[in-house]
């Protein structure tokens, strides 16, 4: 177990280093980094100053060492467009992305767990078919399009919620639902098969045989056990949400990290691109790491050999 954990942590660190190096390599492969860092806005003298300040007159390996050193100290540089540090931009925008991901998970769970449970109990009934349709659509629908269609229906035609932007609780509904639906597909399928397994088990038969009311059998014996794999899966999705937020935040004009990432790419603001990718990538990797560790702790049957 300890060996497995150590290996897994080492792997995560390796992935972090890989991302940082990839970003460095790409920035140097793209031509003159001084231009990248000033976004072509500056006068030639300013570019010259930038070249000196960034240490671009140094040999490449020195540049790499300096870059890594700054990263380790948490120095992500300053935006080329405004005078704000990248770290500050990230601090301001992170909560919005985080709360959106949480609401998407909540929405996905609220819809898909009852749907998965009911479709297992009432197999081949209409509810089972609804669950299948929900799952298949979730897997096949482009999320950016679903978002736009929801805006059209609920904000423009029905006028129930505001079309975009972050405000009160109601502003979380559409983006949360859009982000959550893709996740529902997996949760519904897993919940259904997990519940079917449990319903087939000896302890459920036993509970029924001793005359427990069906509702008690379901809630106390079946559901509790069936939920275990589903919860681990749901936490795994969190990482995927960080990825999907680039798309969703663009559709809903959501003031989070994903939107900063896209805008900085389109606005050619390299320091911000670099900072967002490294920090976002770190989040993604660390969440995957935590989930893997939790998984190993919760489910002792997991194989520690890789």
């Amino acid at each position: 177990m300890a060996g497995y954990l150590a290996g897994r942590v080492f792997q995560a660190i390796l992935a972090l280093w890989f991302i940082a190096t990839l970003v460095f390599a790409l920035s140097r492969a793209a031509g003159d980094p001084a231009e990248l860092f000033t976004a072509n806005l500056a006068a030639p003298e300013a570019e010259e100053m930038m070249r000196e300040r960034l240490g671009l007159d140094q040999p490449l390996y020195r540049q790499y060492v300096i870059y890594m050193g700054q990263l380790l100290q948490g120095d992500l540089g300053t935006s080329a467009r405004s005078n704000v540090t990248v770290a500050q931009i990230l601090r301001e925008r992170m909560p919005a992305t985080f709360s959106l991901a949480l609401s998407a998970i909540a929405i996905a769970i609220i819809f898909s767990i009852p749907l998965g449970v009911l479709s297992a109990i009432y197999r081949d009934s209409p509810i089972d078919w609804i669950a299948k349709v929900v799952a298949f659509l979730g897997q096949s629908m482009p999320s950016f399009w679903l978002g736009l269609m929801l805006i059209l229906l609920f904000a423009v035609i029905l006028g129930w919620v505001s079309p975009a932007g972050k405000g009160g609780i109601s502003s979380y509904l559409l983006p949360g639902f859009t982000l959550g639906w893709a996740a529902m597909a997996g949760i519904v399928r897993l919940m259904r098969s997990s519940m079917l397994d449990v319903l087939d088990s000896d302890y459920v038969t036993m509970a029924r045989a001793k005359g427990l009311p069906e509702i008690m059998v379901m809630s106390k014996h079946a559901l509790r056990n069936a939920l275990i794999p589903v919860i681990t899966y749901a936490s795994l999705i969190f990482g995927a949400f960080m990825n999907g937020s680039v798309v969703i935040e663009s559709v809903f004009a959501w003031p989070g990290i994903g939107r900063v990432a896209l805008n900085s790419v389109l606005g050619r603001d390299f320091p911000v691109v670099q900072g967002v990718v490294i920090v976002f990538g770190a989040f993604f990797i660390i969440i995957n790491l935590i989930v893997d560790i939790l998984y190993a702790v919760i489910d002792p049957r997991i194989k520690y050999s890789r």
């Binding site: 390796l14 209409p126 078919w129 269609m149 059209l152």
Partner: protein, 301 residues
């Protein structure tokens, strides 16, 4: 319903509405006639786009912009699904868009899936150091957030067809390596491989004659399921403006073109999204069916 003697479908209470939708979906799964037809139509319209499409997809006609679909009062038969803000025909762009999406995903499948299969077989069959190194690399790639990596990549190399191809191929290759390697590990232990080794067949011959044919079903199933996934990814990138560059008629790009006008001209956004949905849905259903038929062991795929 056949063989029951009475025609159940005539009874008004036989099926509820959701039941009916579900039954249709179930029929799709049992006999993939509909999905196969949809996919065939798509493939044909992609291949024969210049013949099938009523207009040139990039032909600008500003005088005819925002013309609604034919079923609207002021719609015309000349533009069945309406026109966009530059007066380009939505239907023609959809048809050519199938070409863009399918070509791109098939190329990525060929490059990424092909190299992934090759490396997966090698890694599984040879084992040892090469396998260990490759597996660490696969885990590394699978730990990266795809869209973000694509963003940086596009930032440095610009938006183009080839950018998308090169940035998505390694991700696909990693998925192929992981699964094909696992498959190879079991095939490697079979008697016919042992016999081939004993009679002294060269390694390349064993890989080609004995291993590859026995993992090929998995390759086909995986490829079918991944095409849908790739179309979704590519269209997301195009929608964000970091995928296939305009004025190419990529579906994701078309959805993004219509965004600003969603209240006044919904058709610009609606139809390309539906095209993606129907294509990916068909591919997923078809892939599921294929998996159940060819490769029943991998239901968890």
């Amino acid at each position: 319903m056949a063989g029951t003697g009475t025609d159940l479908s005539l009874e008004p209470t036989a099926l509820t509405w959701p039941g009916r939708v579900g039954a249709a979906l179930s029929a799709l799964r049992r006999a993939p006639l509909v999905t196969s037809t949809v996919l065939a139509v798509l493939l044909c319209s992609a291949i024969f786009a210049p013949i099938v499409a009523p207009h040139t997809p990039t032909q600008i006609d500003v005088g005819n912009s925002f013309s609604p679909p034919v079923w609207h009062e002021d719609g015309s038969w000349s533009n069945l699904l309406g026109t966009d803000k530059l007066g380009r025909d939505v239907l023609s762009r959809l048809i050519y868009g199938a070409r863009v999406s399918l070509t791109l995903s098939l190329l990525i499948i060929l490059i990424g899936g092909g190299s992934g299969t090759f490396l997966g077989i090698l890694s599984g069959y040879l084992g040892k150091t090469a396998d260990a190194i490759l597996q660490r690399f696969v885990e590394l790639i699978l730990a990266l957030p795809t869209i973000l990596v694509a963003l940086v990549f596009v930032f440095t190399f610009g938006t183009s067809f080839t950018s998308v191809m090169f940035v998505l191929s390694p991700f696909l290759a990693a998925r192929f390596i992981r699964i094909i390697r696992g498959e190879t590990l079991t095939v490697r232990e079979r008697d016919y491989v042992a016999i081939a080794q004993v009679i002294g067949s060269p390694t390349h011959r064993i890989l080609w004659r004995h291993i590859l044919p026995n993992v090929f079903n998995t390759v086909i199933v995986l490829a079918t399921l991944e095409v849908g996934h790739l179309i979704l990814l590519e269209s997301s990138l195009s929608f964000l403006g970091v995928g296939v560059p305009p004025p190419n008629p990529a579906w994701g790009l078309m959805v993004s073109d219509g965004r600003e006008f969603i209240t006044s001209a919904y058709w610009i956004t609606l139809f390309p999204g539906l095209a993606i949905l129907i294509t990916v849905l068909s591919l997923n259903l078809f892939g599921d069916w294929l998996r159940d038929t060819l490769d029943p062991r991998r239901r968890q795929l």
